[in-house]
Symmetry: C2
Subunit: 406 residues, 2 copies
Amino acid sequence: MKTAAVLTIGSEIVEGIILNTNAQYICQRLAENGYRVNRVVSVDDEEDSIKGEVQRLLASCDVLVLCGGLGPTEDDKTREAVAKALSRRLILDESIREKIHERVSRYYNNLPRNLDKQAFVIENAQIVPNPVGTAPGQLIDFEGKKIVLLPGPPQEMRPMLDSVLEKLKTEQDFKTIKMLFFAVPESVLDQFMTDTSVKGCVKIATQASFSEGVWVRLTAPLDCFAEAENLAQRLVEKFQRNFVGYGDTSVERALFEELEKRNLTFSVAESCTGGLVSAKIVSVSGASRVFVGGVVAYDNSVKMRILNVREETLKRFGAVSEQCVVEMAHGIKELTRSDLAVSVSGIAGPTGGTQEKPVGTAYFCVTDGKRDSVEKIFYPQERNIFRSRIATHALYLLLIRLRGMI
Amino acid sequence: MKTAAVLTIGSEIVEGIILNTNAQYICQRLAENGYRVNRVVSVDDEEDSIKGEVQRLLASCDVLVLCGGLGPTEDDKTREAVAKALSRRLILDESIREKIHERVSRYYNNLPRNLDKQAFVIENAQIVPNPVGTAPGQLIDFEGKKIVLLPGPPQEMRPMLDSVLEKLKTEQDFKTIKMLFFAVPESVLDQFMTDTSVKGCVKIATQASFSEGVWVRLTAPLDCFAEAENLAQRLVEKFQRNFVGYGDTSVERALFEELEKRNLTFSVAESCTGGLVSAKIVSVSGASRVFVGGVVAYDNSVKMRILNVREETLKRFGAVSEQCVVEMAHGIKELTRSDLAVSVSGIAGPTGGTQEKPVGTAYFCVTDGKRDSVEKIFYPQERNIFRSRIATHALYLLLIRLRGMI
């Protein structure tokens, strides 16, 4: 197995000002491509620190990925440090220089001189185009090893890393199946995979996110990839109701696709989630084709006044009840004239819970006006973790209703 | 300035399965306590890797903080690796052993034998009590340097790190002022601070988040702390309109406090933000005291049907216009009978822009029913970055309106 190391550069990392999400992303993608990552190092913007780490890390890995320090300012020293570490020259690339000037001059009239810094390339490096920003990446062959230079902004770095990994693929190739599940504990998926006899060549990784669900990644070399596909198939069969989709999906994206396929619209009535259910579906580009709008009925007066929830219902059963979510769903459906509606009401805490309905209780209703699917869940977590989770749960219920599972 | 290094241990980090939030927390706390962190390294659970990194990092720092690998299982090798790196013995501490057994036997009857592993202490180490879990931490003096061993679970590690930093405090103590600004570029704040003559003993750090604003941290030793306070004062005076607050605040929290102080409520009418404006204020615990509810008027039919926006307005000026946001704000205020209302409508993209109103354009209105404050901004960014930013901007406008600045 080839080994890799990651070096992220920037004082904002070692000072703890930002969370190093780039390091995680790079490690994940390297692992998915069959590399064993043996070191992840972060240093500040000192040229000597970067140079020293490059030399040290190169001694014990096949691929070294650097991220950060490719910008135009004084602080950005990655290019210079790597050139020194490898004893290679830095050369001004005129075509890059032109591209940068062309791009920046769309926004600014007075081009700052330090922009040119980004057009310097290490001798014999291949350019990795930056689809979003100005700083190009670089891919360097050095004594049988590969060194990759990527900029720090995640939206620039990510597609660039993917294009580099595509280039580095060897004959002994690895492939990964990525799957998303929702409303099933990570441990249950894990136990099922452990109990299913599967060859050791398939590497299993799971990762749980309270708001997204549980990610499963099955990685295998090509000659045993059928084994991974077989396990994936078994997972889908066993956890049919929980399976959201393959690849880079999400509950909201899967829902968007199911609705668009059927040419259906929906609306949302929500209380404690306070807009998150709507916000999640609107995060999908093109959402206007399936989502018409929603009401955040936070105060009971709003539930009555806008959604026509009856005062009697609130008095007798409370705002967090089956009766209330049914009326909320019907109320928003009639108001917006959507094909479907989903509603949610819960107790986010920290206060407001009772013995009968403790903090963490939530009710949902999905309706097409004729049939109501109601569900109650109990998810006692911190206020905003709870809110984000049950917002996704509301969309999940609409998703599995469309799939004919509830 | 004393230097520090951080070593986090665990294959789940280098495989990219988890995000290394521990590293950020430790770096932040070290920086706040006046240390300059020069290296952050992550390795997997190999004893040799840990041992090698400990020896290397110790050569260039005063304090080395290790995190992870103190559990009871085979994988947990930090204690052994550090003992070997320092050529010290591991000694079974009977009192720790008893405490662990006592704690675990509350939950399990059959105590696993590997528990004893956690009771081994490096020769001459001080014990750092674990208030939450079983693995104690260790604080070691070694050739004038300090080595700190902490367990990986954040809820255990955090209070233990704090107690260690308390112990390590020297006479030369540091304090930090943390401030949040909004709707002003990081570079402008930075330039002002550079131009303001301030003694070198004040360390300035800024950090920009598109959704939160710009954080400024001023750190200084106690004997020059007045200088930091003076700079903070000057920042507040110069950027009065942009200053959100001191400490761990946010636009939504500052708004919540201003509204609660005045005993006022508000409501939200939003379009492209799709619920995010409401969701942000609801993230503040106690939001029900100031927020009554909102409408996500994503489709124009909803703007007309629920918010009473006139068809004429939409036809003549479009949904992204001053006229539309004014009608939206009045519509939601009347519907919910709140004291104040805020509305926002914008073009999130990637499609839907025109020459006159390109993607990234947003209009806002804040009203009390009598006076309307309208603002237009242009923030051409990726769809969801734009949405999150302008959601905060809507709340920011209400905040500065309450403060009498618009």
